[in-house]
Symmetry: C2
């Protein structure tokens, strides 16, 4: 019984997500859904990526998903991009209807739209948001066993970002083990190694996003 209901919910979400995808495509907007545990560093990565992408002459906006508080939207606006906060009031993931409603508040679509999902390595993986790319962020202190323990999040991503590399010296983290486990469920997964403390890996990740956008739409601006 519960499974049937969940399937209906997912089917309904998939239809709305497909409509979002068409809208993003038409506007030449690269939508990027960002998944990760609470505290993996998703907002910090965006704070670092936004100025780099803007220097590459790409417009950026962010939809922030959180259970409670609008703290993250305020951080994003300080970093120089418009942000719309969705507070889910207890719901453990974003869905396509929430994105629809956030887009009405956002106005014109940017060249790159980041959607920072609720901090949760499980539930958001099941809900498409019309995104072209999905990043899963895994921070080094979480441990190298997480891709094996939470396979769905890694199976559905286009890139894995290993974050907080600056803490690597203080944590037992075997990067080869983490990458092997993630690629065993997703052989084509791109991997980036970043730190928001010393900014390593941020230019490479920004370059990859720029390339993905060019591959999807050519190099031009959004309409």
């Amino acid at each position: 019984m519960k499974i049937v209901v969940v399937k209906n919910v997912l089917g309904h979400n998939a239809r709305r997500a497909a409509a979002l995808k068409r809208r993003f495509l038409q506007a030449r907007c690269l939508a990027v859904n960002i998944l990760g545990s609470p505290g993996a560093g998703k907002t910090s990565l965006l704070e670092k990526l936004i100025p780099v992408l803007k220097r590459r002459r790409l417009s950026v906006a962010v939809i922030e998903g959180d259970i409670a508080t609008a703290n993250d939207a305020r951080r994003i606006e300080k970093a120089g991009a418009p942000a719309v906060q969705i507070t889910t009031q207890g719901v453990c993931h974003l869905n396509a209807a929430m994105i629809d409603s956030a887009l009405r508040r956002l106005g014109k679509l940017p060249d790159v739209l980041f959607i920072e999902n609720v901090g949760n390595l499980v539930c958001p993986a099941a809900f498409e948001l019309g995104e072209a790319e999905r990043l899963v962020v895994l921070s080094v202190p979480e441990g190298d066993d997480k891709p094996a323990k939470y396979p769905e999040a890694f199976a559905g991503a286009s890139a894995m970002v290993l974050n907080k590399l600056d803490l690597g010296a203080h944590c037992r983290f075997n990067r080869a083990k983490a990458i092997l486990a993630a690629r065993s469920v997703n052989p084509g997964l791109a991997v980036f190694e970043t730190s928001c403390a010393d900014c390593r890996g941020i230019p490479e990740l920004a370059a990859w996003l720029t390339e993905r956008r060019a591959a999807a739409f050519g190099g031009g601006r959004s309409r």
Copy 2:
């Protein structure tokens, strides 16, 4: 529609959880439900607590909840306690029915039964498992803003464990801010500050669990 279904699921779970609670009480077994993000250090804390509790002449067993793999049950058994692994196959939380089924595999109830929930700071908070105590584990690298952003997990806990204190020098973490936010939704919350690298705070947490068991059942052994 979805809300009605979720309420039915929660009502059904609450009835099974109440039956578990009676069973734990009758057996003088202190059941402890452990919540936290992936990588907060829940399993590592148990590895450190088990020998300390055993030296206090308490029998200990663990139910391990994970989306995939039986890695954690193996770690617990190496640490000296029997463990039953529940692999939820994608489900984002443990429920009382899963605990029922794990107890059939466990056999005799111990003095202290730890239930390590799926790594997720959102969904497990809504599902009672018949526990007497609920610990929420927050690791320092996750950030001091998490109690404000995930209030339900902190509101329902009897104790918060601030873990990975050894990484404190390398992370911007304001412990007073984290404690204030957690106690603003839960004024009676006990707080422990621990590290599994240097074992600080582990004896205090073990002493608190022993006291909670004595307060519930007197000092005797489980039946």
